[in-house]
């Protein structure tokens, strides 16, 4: 609901700009609208691919189960798993944050939480759209750098946070596997 309000207020804002533009110089405003429309139409094929992929990831990736198991993970393998998980996650903030809270409740370290949140920036299903607009080199490099950053930032955030695991952390391994 929050997203819909935001989406709509954004639309209202753009609509107001167009109203202004129409009042000042109608032909130019119409040109702007037509241009926007042409670009929108042009990318329909990759949008279809991206949203199709989004649906598949949503249905096939068992988010809750993976989130729970990531709670017990530590060490490099855990971080890499967290990073991989985050990169294929799709959803708005009000779905993702509670999912991360589930991870936390199952004992996930701050590094794991941060790694998932950061690699969430990759948005694998949306990559076709990114390639269309920005080129495959840009998309590939940005994704690789974000994955690397998710590990680094995860470790850094955990360093700066007091107490890595929540007090009620279940799961095996007290510290032997930790970095």
């Amino acid at each position: 609901m929050v997203a819909r309000v935001k989406g709509e207020s954004f639309l209202v804002a753009v609509g107001l700009l167009y109203a202004l533009a129409l009042a000042l110089d109608p032909p130019r405003a119409v040109r702007a609208a037509a241009l926007g429309g042409k670009v929108f139409l042009a990318v329909v094929p990759v949008m279809a691919a991206s949203f199709g992929a989004l649906g598949l990831f949503q249905v096939l990736v068992k988010k809750e189960r993976i989130a729970r198991s990531l709670g017990h993970q530590s060490g490099w393998r855990g971080l890499l798993a967290a990073s991989a998980f985050g990169s294929v996650l799709v959803g708005p903030v009000y779905i993702i944050f509670p999912l991360l809270l589930v991870m936390r409740e199952h004992g996930a370290r701050w590094a794991i939480i941060t790694a998932v949140l950061t690699s969430w920036a990759v948005k694998v299903p949306m990559i076709p759209l990114e390639i269309q607009f920005l080129g495959w080199r840009f998309a590939a490099l940005r994704s690789a750098l974000v994955i690397a950053a998710s590990i680094g930032l995860g470790l850094l955030v955990e360093l700066l946070m007091p107490g890595s695991r929540p007090a009620t952390a279940p799961g095996p391994g007290s510290g032997a596997e930790d970095l």
């Binding site: 241009l35 139409l41 649906g55 598949l56 080129g135 750098l145």
Partner: protein, 173 residues
């Protein structure tokens, strides 16, 4: 790359990117359908529903792209996000991305518009990364769920990451 936002005709882009993407996704759907047909159908429904959910945002974003192209002068982009502006350009990208709220799919058309308008690529990269990683608008919610300390540290660190990634991409691309 030739401009993607200066179109004359109404047409669909059917190129390697779209064809390969559609083929891969189509293939994945066929594979899924073989294993469990309901999953494939459900995936299609979810995808369609998500698209409909984002439709208003897309209309707004592409409307904005049109306005940008027609009204924003190249000099303005060059001044704030051009190569000559250096660090300011990176910062502008990072700040713009951090205050943006919305699906990252909306960031791509805007990013391309900026690039076509003459923005420095690292600044645009910083814009996209900070759009997805830093959320000034979602900060209160993040603080509520994880605590203010985590929210501030992560967002602050992410902002720096965005600038850094922009710089590295400038080196490598």
């Amino acid at each position: 790359m030739p401009s993607l936002v200066r179109f004359e005709e109404w047409r669909l882009i059917v190129d390697t990117t779209s064809l390969v993407s559609l083929a891969l996704v189509g293939g994945a759907y066929v594979w899924t359908a073989f294993r469990r047909r309901q999953s494939a159908a459900q995936a299609a429904r979810v995808g369609l529903k998500s698209f409909r959910g984002m439709a208003t945002t897309f209309v707004a974003v592409f409307g904005l792209v049109g306005l940008f192209e027609v009204y924003i002068p190249a000099s303005l982009i060059a001044k704030w996000m051009g190569h000559s502006a250096g660090v300011l350009s990176l910062l502008t990208g990072g700040v713009l991305g951090s205050v943006a709220a919305g699906p990252p799919a909306a960031a791509f058309p805007i990013a391309r518009t900026l690039l076509d308008g003459g923005a420095w690529m690292p600044a645009v990269a910083a814009f996209i990364v900070s759009w997805v990683l830093v959320g000034v608008v979602s900060l209160p919610f993040e603080a509520k769920v994880f605590g203010a300390r985590f929210a501030l540290i992560r967002n602050g660190g992410s902002f720096l990451v965005a600038l850094l990634i922009g710089l590295v991409m400038g080196w490598l691309l």
